[in-house]
């Protein structure tokens, strides 16, 4: 069974852990943000924090597309889903995200035709099979997911399917990271870059981090050893005074990314002038909408969505957690009014949200008591 589980090999992980411990400057603090929700999940699920010295602090970033979606966009999706002629399709991630008057799962229980799909191509197939109905796909996600929406729209156009449209909520990773770096709230030393976003966009878009802000970045995979190695690479950079973009996830990320995917995205999408992010406010050129060539498949135009803005619940501190200013348990409603069963904020909905990951896998520190000492 050559290679099996090598990226979960405990001996290698311990060796990397020891090397990090030997390299860290005991007088220094290393504050590293993992941008991606998938990384947050791996860190908690596998107890990575326990393998790192106290000087290394991991801060969770805004890289969960469900978590950063403002409530108004959820409400607008629900308004489309409630139309009798519509079959509304979305990824499972979206079903429990709270809007101001409920979530898609509740609307479905009341009779709306809402179907969970695994791929936007499944939504297109539903449109093909139901020519007398209007099929809408609720598109969310960063650059990992945008190519699948782009490809689906290209196929819809090629096949002349007119009863299909996309409500586009795709966002891009670089502008929110730049916004965080501009934020006076937060002092970060380095970044762990998202692995599969980088499979699409490559490593070049992160070069502004060292160039403009003097912060190193390592693009990382999603297994425990991937993250440990990435922390090691960042600690080495910081100790040696280097500041550059490095690629730990070479088995899946090329420096230039996937050019065909980028080409499909540039044909189908264009940048919005600005987009609202939960907790971060409006960020310029941080999201995608359908280009003029694809306007006839744009659900936003087909249903004239009004651009609703809804304030988050007052008790909810998702914004501070998203920016890394608060740790999840420091939120006023964490684990009390807001739980994975009854989420108040989006960070508790997605299993990759920082609060849900912390709730499910986070460990509390207990005073150690030697057996027989009492």
């Amino acid at each position: 069974m050559k290679y099996v589980d090598e990226f979960r090999n405990a001996d290698l992980a311990r060796a990397v852990s020891a090397e990090i411990a030997s390299l860290v400057d005991p007088k220094r603090h290393y504050k590293i943000m993992e941008v991606c929700g998938g990384h947050t999940h791996t860190i908690y699920r596998h107890g990575i924090k326990d393998l790192l010295p106290d000087q290394v602090e991991l801060v969770h970033g805004p890289g969960c597309p469900v978590c950063v979606l403002p409530m108004g966009r959820v409400d607008e999706g629900i308004a489309i889903a409630e139309r009798p002629e519509v079959i509304f399709t979305c990824f499972g991630d979206m079903m429990r995200v709270p809007g101001s008057k409920g979530n898609l799962l509740e609307i479905k229980a009341e009779g709306a035709d809402i179907r969970m799909v695994y791929s936007p191509l499944d939504a297109l197939r539903i449109a093909h099979e139901n020519p007398d109905r209007e099929v809408v796909f609720y598109a969310i996600g960063f650059e990992t997911t945008a190519p699948s929406t782009a490809l689906t729209l290209q196929r819809a156009k090629k096949e002349g399917i007119e009863n299909f449209s996309v409500f586009c909520n795709h966002v891009t990773i670089v502008p929110p990271v730049r916004a965080l770096l501009d934020s006076p709230d937060l002092r970060l030393d380095a970044f762990i870059g998202p692995g599969h976003v980088s499979t699409v966009i490559g490593c070049r878009p992160y070069e502004f981090m060292p160039a403009d802000y003097g912060k190193p970045c390592v693009v990382a995979g999603f297994e425990p050893l991937d993250l440990m190695q990435s922390v090691l690479m960042l600690v080495r950079q910081l100790d040696e005074g280097r500041c550059e973009v490095e690629n730990q996830y070479g088995r899946a990320v090329l420096w230039e990314g996937n050019l065909k995917a980028l080409e499909a995205m540039s044909e189908v999408f264009e940048l919005r002038p600005y987009f609202e992010w939960r907790g971060l406010g409006f960020i310029a050129q941080s999201a995608l909408r359908l280009s003029a060539d694809y306007a006839d498949l744009d659900a936003e135009l087909r249903y004239s969505t009004p651009g609703v803005r809804v304030a988050d619940p007052k008790a909810c501190q998702c914004g501070e957690v998203l920016k890394g200013v608060l740790k999840p348990p420091e939120c006023k409603v964490f684990g009390t009014a807001c739980t994975p069963e009854r989420p108040l904020g989006a960070l508790m909905v997605s299993s990759e949200g920082a609060c849900a990951a912390y709730y499910n896998f986070g460990r509390k520190s207990f005073e150690k008591v030697e057996i027989g000492s009492r």
């Binding site: 069974m1 050559k2 290679y3 099996v4 589980d5 090598e6 990226f7 979960r8 090999n9 290698l12 060796a15 990397v16 090397e19 991606c36 929700g37 998938g38 999940h41 890289g63 969960c64 597309p65 469900v66 978590c67 990824f91 499972g92 991630d93 695994y118 791929s119 936007p120 191509l121 499944d122 996600g141 960063f142 990992t144 997911t145 190519p147 699948s148 490809l151 692995g195 599969h196 976003v197 499979t199 699409v200 995979g221 999603f222 297994e223 050893l225 190695q229 070479g250 088995r251 899946a252 990320v253 090329l254 996937n258 065909k260 995917a261 499909a264 997605s350 299993s351 990759e352 949200g353």
Partner: protein
């Protein structure tokens, strides 16, 4: 053959997390090709059709990363072991 796929992580096509939020990239092997789609298999033996336009051309036996039913990348075989 399937064991090679676990090098790329333990994520499979029946991944029960949030596909989008977890930035999931599922490693699969190409079994057969039919136009712009390919029948693929993951490390658990699950099989499904994957759209391959964005990584074309593909050949039987190649390993790809898929997300939301679409192949988004190929695997660089020379980088398959952890480095120190």
């Amino acid at each position: 053959m399937k064991d090679d796929l676990t090098l790329l992580g333990n994520c499979t096509l029946d991944h029960d997390g949030c596909v989008v939020c977890s930035d999931a990239g599922i490693p699969v092997r190409v079994l057969s090709i039919d136009g712009d789609d390919a029948l693929c298999e993951d490390s658990a033996g699950n099989q499904t059709e994957i759209a391959v336009e964005l990584v074309a051309p593909v050949t039987q036996g190649e390993i790809m990363l898929t997300h939301g039913g679409v192949a988004i990348g190929k695997i660089e075989a020379e980088n398959l072991t952890p480095e120190r």
